[in-house]
Symmetry: C2
Subunit: 332 residues, 2 copies
């Protein structure tokens, strides 16, 4: 019987830095599924900014932290290689919370089979956290209306790119904020956004004004950073701000201050922070909303894939450095 | 025929300062109502922090500014002294947007007669902007639930005192933030709040922790200031923040920064700014909600009254200096 590898959390990050020293690699024999269980060989694993929070000892967060010694948490796709479960057969491709490991045993709870025609990459780039998060945030809280203007930060990212494409499909004027000209080019020329701001080189206020002649009705926030105040300043009355991510601040020693609240009164603005675990029970409804857009070819995606469990940390850090081009995946 | 006085806006405030030089006093003959009109002799006028905004040339605000040369805007109560209107008779007491003037002509639109048993003071302290604002903010956006904890700033103020009493009546644990020991004493010993923080002398973080053992579910913000960040830090998951006023910042040259948005995600918090003009059409429903609390004696109020139109500016400045004890009224 051969061995498999997994990475367990060995210590918690200090000052927001993620390094290989935080994890311990374990090797152990591939286990045998018991009655009602399946053995999954993971093929693709998702790397997400939220992982930094999951590693941290923050009992106030929306899900409990990963414990020291526990396999690092992640979602992923795998193939059923042994099954003692009536609903799964060998060869089934399944998606669920897999963890940073090559093999795992599951009783099937929380694992869903991939639909016909859905590749492993599409499953993780669209029908997993990115698409669920984009759809929930946009429709539950952003409440987009045809003809309105939406600005999304992290617009070339896994969530932002879907938010913008959904809003475009719904007839909004959509502007994305990105960190490179290549990303700007991709969201405008490939995804069909109406405009892009490169926060690293553009004059933020001037460019935003130019690209949002009717100001901003929906602000979908994935990053934080100085652009936040500029978009906030440009909100229309009755605007909606959806706070989904603040990746620019997750590693900051001291998070940067936010906007003063006076404009919230003057413009009667709603701000809503959210996280997907509150919405697990809505997933069937969310997928019902999202799937037609995908079927009509309105949602393009791209994956940025690194290979091998030993590159998980490298891949994760690429997210925080903005070096990924597309949804960060790890191929096993 | 005798004359009456009115104050018109002569210039807009600079650096948030309100002074007598901003207004010009006009004297003119008391007008005669035409067909379908009434002549109202104003008896009590309301002074509100929002007036600073109304004087300023801020086209983005929720209602247009008062124009230069126009009578300063305010709500008030008066007596009908002449009537050519079938629905009003001489002696009726009416409430509506009266302006800074001793007499006015109206076609009755927007004026409501005071209910039997409702004094002029009660009308302006409870059934006018303060009570409507408190009820709308608390129930539309605060969504209080029995057993939860609510913290309200400006707790001895016209809106805050009603918010806290409504929440107490609904079975919440209620803490108020005030600017003097006398106000702290009033909200705890007269209004029945569970605790008070004097932001001018208490150790804010320590006192807040002591008074909110179960942390904070609803934060009703009337003031801004350093206490904001402390209350924000203490929000529970799924907390609601209602932003109604930021009086500490209205006169600031540069408004102070707000909290970073990361906790909005971690705790899935909703923040909502609002202003009453969006809710005029809901007033019957709002009064239906508020009135039973008043009838059951659950809403105490106190007015702080100055006398004579020439003291309007003094009275208004008392609000910004926190020197008023109760809803600021001007008796004519």
């Amino acid at each position: 019987m051969s061995n498999y590898k997994k990475l367990v959390l060995a210590q918690r990050p200090q000052d927001g830095k993620i390094g290989a020293h935080l994890f311990a690699q374990k090797e152990q024999p591939i286990p045998t599924p018991g009655d009602g269980e399946i053995l999954i060989k993971q093929t693709y694993m998702s790397l997400d900014p939220a992982m930094l929070g999951w590693m941290s000892d923050d009992r106030e967060s929306y899900i409990p932290p990963v414990e020291i010694g526990e396999v690092m948490r992640s979602s992923g796709v795998g193939e059923v290689v042994e099954s003692n479960h009536p609903d799964f057969k060998v060869g089934d491709k399944v998606m669920g919370m897999t963890g940073w490991q090559e093999y795992l045993i599951s009783d099937g709870q929380g694992f869903n089979k991939l639909q016909a025609g859905v590749s492993e990459e599409m499953a993780l780039c669209v029908f997993a956290l990115p698409g669920l998060t984009a759809t929930t945030g946009l429709y539950n809280f952003g409440k987009p209306k045809e003809g309105e203007t939406l600005v999304v930060t992290g617009a070339a990212g896994s969530v932002g790119s879907i938010v913008g494409q959904l809003a475009k499909a719904d007839g909004l004027h959509v502007v994305g904020v990105v960190g490179s000209d290549a990303k700007a080019d991709w969201i405008v020329n490939e995804l069909g956004f109406d405009g892009a701001i490169n926060y690293k080189k553009d004059d933020l206020a001037a460019k935003l004004e130019e690209l949002t002649p009717d100001k901003v009705d929906v602000f979908f926030e994935n990053t934080g950073g100085p652009i936040q105040q500029h978009i906030f300043n440009r909100m229309n009355a009755h605007g909606r701000i959806v706070v989904c991510g603040m990746i620019a601040d997750y590693q900051a020693e001291k998070p940067s201050p936010g906007p003063n609240w006076i404009p919230l009164i003057k413009k009667r603005i709603a701000i809503r922070g959210f996280a997907m675990p509150d919405h697990w029970d809505e997933i069937p409804k969310i997928l019902e909303k999202l799937t037609p857009y995908v079927q009509q070819g309105k949602i393009k995606y791209r994956a940025h894939t690194v290979t091998g469990l030993e590159n998980a940390v490298t891949g994760l850090n690429m997210l925080f450095e903005g070096k990924n081009t597309g949804k960060m995946l790890l191929k096993l």
